[in-house]
Symmetry: D2
Subunit: 338 residues, 4 copies
């Protein structure tokens, strides 16, 4: 950590912050030129929040040198992590995992029809929302536990793995029973209460990036899960909120590369939520492959116009099939296996 | 709702969406010029998500006409809402409510010392974090239930009301027992599971705006609480996330005016989290008064440098006292009562 | 254009705006339900700014139906535009154009050495900054006219086309003499004085997207150039400004798809300015190919560490060579010709 | 400047960057702990762009310690700058300057009628656009030189100072003749060609903040003007672009405080462009006074509904009069003189 003092800081200001840090068993190196006083802080600063040090008068700027996350960092574990979902499917390394399914589970028939086609097209993991955190209290809120059980049943029927989004910590048991991956939604990325609870599970967690989360904050949320004991974290970039409104969110495709530099965890892309427009999904999926993501999560619906949620960003089955054909043609050129 | 079709949309595309809407008991008016087909949708569209209609081929643009929130809207209730906190304190109308206290409750002594000064300076409501959702799992996580009980005890000692942030729905009982206002933090603004649970309480809720929440989404979250039966919602603007990093967040002071146009709910400002710099708090507080907010929430700490969290944005007691002196001098000129 | 009136708008409010529009030879359709009054405006609304109509009391919301740009729109010209740069090079359609070179032209030797390698690797167009609009007045400001003449000379030596960024309208002549494409920088995207002047040239213009420009504003700037008579506009996405600071800007890769929906103009990607980190350029270039861009603009420097500007985002020559090998291997699978 | 090296950086990486810096007459202090290598760079680093140093392999993070601007900085000149506009009007210190007038100068009658009322209400400086950089080439583009001369004439008639926005460097002469303050628009804030030209003038410059400019970039643009010799720079905050679209831009009111910390230059607020809604202007103006701004720039039009531009954000004359009454009542309580 680097602490720069203001020009007008007094000797007492210097002493106070140096004293504070020394009390925490940190060593201080004084890097001083004519005009500027900078303290280098040496030792384990992971429990210090740089922001808090601005409380000291005379402090001008505090810069963290080491990353605030450890277990999630590439420095901690240089090799890519591969996460086994079941005995057939793993996410990471050269595998290009395709997760697909409807936004909401609406009925057994809808889910079976969708899953049948997805499986035939080559998708690995079936997604479906059972507890639906909609922005409006007047919208469809999901089939809840019944939906989750349907997901398990249909996934098993077609030999697929299952993933669904958890709304709160008290449902961990029912999720562990019914899915292979528990998804943490973008709006819950900093629901630390939920993250702590999930850190006690061993089920793989797919952690979506929050709408306005920095890459560092996203990895800190992964750290929460890992610090508690669950190392099976998959990251999912799904677009960030910006001033541009033509797309629902702005897909931050460079975030995949940033995560790969900073962390060993696998990272996939959800082009459906990023763009919010089904017309863009195929091309964004190919870009995701090209940039080096470990897979995709795509919304597919047999009849998007009648979907109870997110129809606008759902692919119809023939379009999904077309995407899978493209992917199976192109994955080898990018060193990936579909 | 206004639906504009693409130029190249077919007659069948027109018929399909019109049919879909008619099935939902909505009436359609066709507003057509040479080049453009627009459908006006008349009736109760509150359960339709405009985004979902993009699933229909041929749809170019969907615009909502009525607000998606009802109970929270000024159209629904034209007069300003005043929320009684206890028999002495109310938020709304000409009252200018001052909520103050430490970010985290650290000890009985710290809280009592702070509260004593706050009360003497004229603050109405004591704040203090008991369950601390910190971005790092390695930071101080709060005194939890013990902290909440301390808050109640000390608030009572000094005849103040009490507010604290709730981390999850299973703690509602303990919050109802110990605080007069339950705060929903910015990172939980769209934790719909929590909002639904709080809608069954009658305790006033302070709903902070999410870091990247639009004003409409913020009011939709208020609607969640109100739709379930709890009409006592106070809004709190606390800065939004933008590209500018000199301040921790960007205080969106115009949001107060927007809320007052769109809604009847009271709205206050938290300059501490918005700026993240104690040097700015006094001036931003005066601006909050001038713009017409219903109050303030300010972090105060007897010794910010030793605070276990958020010291950088905490006022020292003499500075808070100075702010209160200014406010008591200025409130009359803005038609407010401190 | 759709104009929605406030509930409390008076009959006189209605009459005033309707009268105003009728005076402009526009027809009005009244789409009215119990609660809401909406006027559909029919006719040529291109000279109306929707924002201006909020001046009328009683107006709640104004929505544009047709795009504000015409010549740049796909509706105006359904087929993709191909822009001939010289008798050998064209941008658009299946061509995948590669523009490469140093950020700044520093010397004849530096430029010749770079160009020699770029040509050998297969780049088509040589870029190089001569007038450098740096954020600091104390940084290197470019070789100016001499640099531009060097660019022409070296590009001719190696049979490449030439592009450079113009800083102001009074230099159009010297740019027309020395380059094949005139670049408008991101910070000048809404320098309308410059755009108007360029609209009188016939030299192709590469219009970079502004740091905070919406896709609509970007196309409106293209419209400025086209409205004045220059139809040869190439768009270049180069990242937008967001809250995320790990990358210099956030590459908005979906913007390529948006432009292709809304416009017939070719669009390329500049991954160097978007990411600001040379480590990301190769992968982002492959993603640009996969998403369907018409080409790339990449910064390359023989010795980035000694570059007088933008070394951080410049590829070294062997890395650029590696990128071109990858592109030549992959373009056929995406229906493109390098 | 602080340079942190990557853990995996080699000794050669260290030597290369240290050598590079030593060649520039900078001294290096090595601040090293077990895991981390940090170099403190001591000396005049103002011509180094921190971003450029990322070109060196092994560099992890570069942090500037001193501000990149000098003349604009408070460190360089601790006392507040007061800028004399003419022999009666000055901006800075306790003066609260009110600049008002129509967005566009439309006719002599419109301008005279407006100015007469503004003067009567107590405004000091008359604004009016003559060269209008509109986003659409099809919108009204201003009366140009004739408009500027009208502005001078009418301002003189009523004993007001005059301000107008300059579109390009070749018009400096005509602006110097006709206005007392030359305004640089938000979209030209980084038109460095224009800034350099203005640095040779002695006419005061009002520099609006760019839509996506950081406070540091804004001050760097001021530095451009000052470095060339014109020290008379007034800053104007006018809202930044964010995800929130209820207001046209987001007024960053904290920016006033940031500027006052970092710089000695006066700073005013333009609530008209920030909000884009006339309903919000009065309250935002009072907040601007309360936060400590040195004045206001407000759009006023005798008949906003017929304004040729920006009617939505223009105050009618009675509302402006009401605002001035409020300001004259309140300025004394904030230590300002209207």
């Amino acid at each position: 950590m680097i602490i720069q003092m203001k020009k007008q800081a007094t000797k007492k200001d210097h002493e106070r912050i140096v004293g504070y840090l020394k009390n925490r068993n940190l060593k201080i190196k004084d890097v001083r030129s004519e005009n500027i006083i900078v303290f280098g802080v040496i030792g384990d600063t992971s429990s210090l929040d740089p922001h808090d040090l601005y409380a000291f008068e005379g402090v001008d700027k505090v810069t963290r040198v080491s990353t605030p996350f450890k277990r999630a960092s590439r420095a901690f574990k240089p090799d890519d992590t591969i996460i086994a979902i079941n005995d057939k499917i793993a996410i990471g390394d050269t595998n290009f995992a395709v997760i697909a399914g409807p936004c909401s589970i609406e009925s057994e028939d809808q889910l079976r029809l969708t899953a049948k086609h997805l499986k035939a097209s080559g998708a690995h993991i079936l997604r479906g929302g059972a507890y639906k955190p909609r922005t409006s209290p007047y919208s469809f809120q999901g089939l809840e536990k019944e939906g989750l059980e349907l997901l398990r049943k249909i996934a098993d029927e077609f030999g697929m793995a299952a993933i669904s989004e958890i709304p709160s910590a008290d449902l961990i048991d029912v999720f562990e029973e019914n899915v292979d991956i528990i998804q943490v939604g973008a709006r819950n990325m900093q629901n630390f209460h939920l993250l702590k609870a999930l850190s006690k599970s061993q089920t793989p967690i797919m952690l979506k990036r929050g709408l306005s989360a920095t890459i560092e904050e996203w990895l800190m949320s992964a750290e929460y899960i890992m610090a508690g004991g669950n190392q099976n974290v998959i990251l999912c970039e799904r677009g960030i909120r910006t001033f541009e409104k033509y797309t629902r969110n702005t897909l931050d495709i460079s975030a995949v590369l940033a995560v790969q530099e900073l962390s060993h965890l696998p990272v996939i892309i959800d082009p459906s939520h990023a763009a919010g427009r089904w017309q863009m999904i195929e091309k964004l999926s190919l870009a995701s492959l090209a940039v080096g993501a470990n897979g995709l999560m795509v919304e597919v619906h047999p009849n998007p116009e009648e979907a109870l949620s997110d129809g606008a960003q759902s692919l119809k089955i023939p379009k999904f099939d077309h995407l899978m054909t493209d992917l199976s043609r192109l994955t080898p050129y990018f060193g990936k296996v579909l």
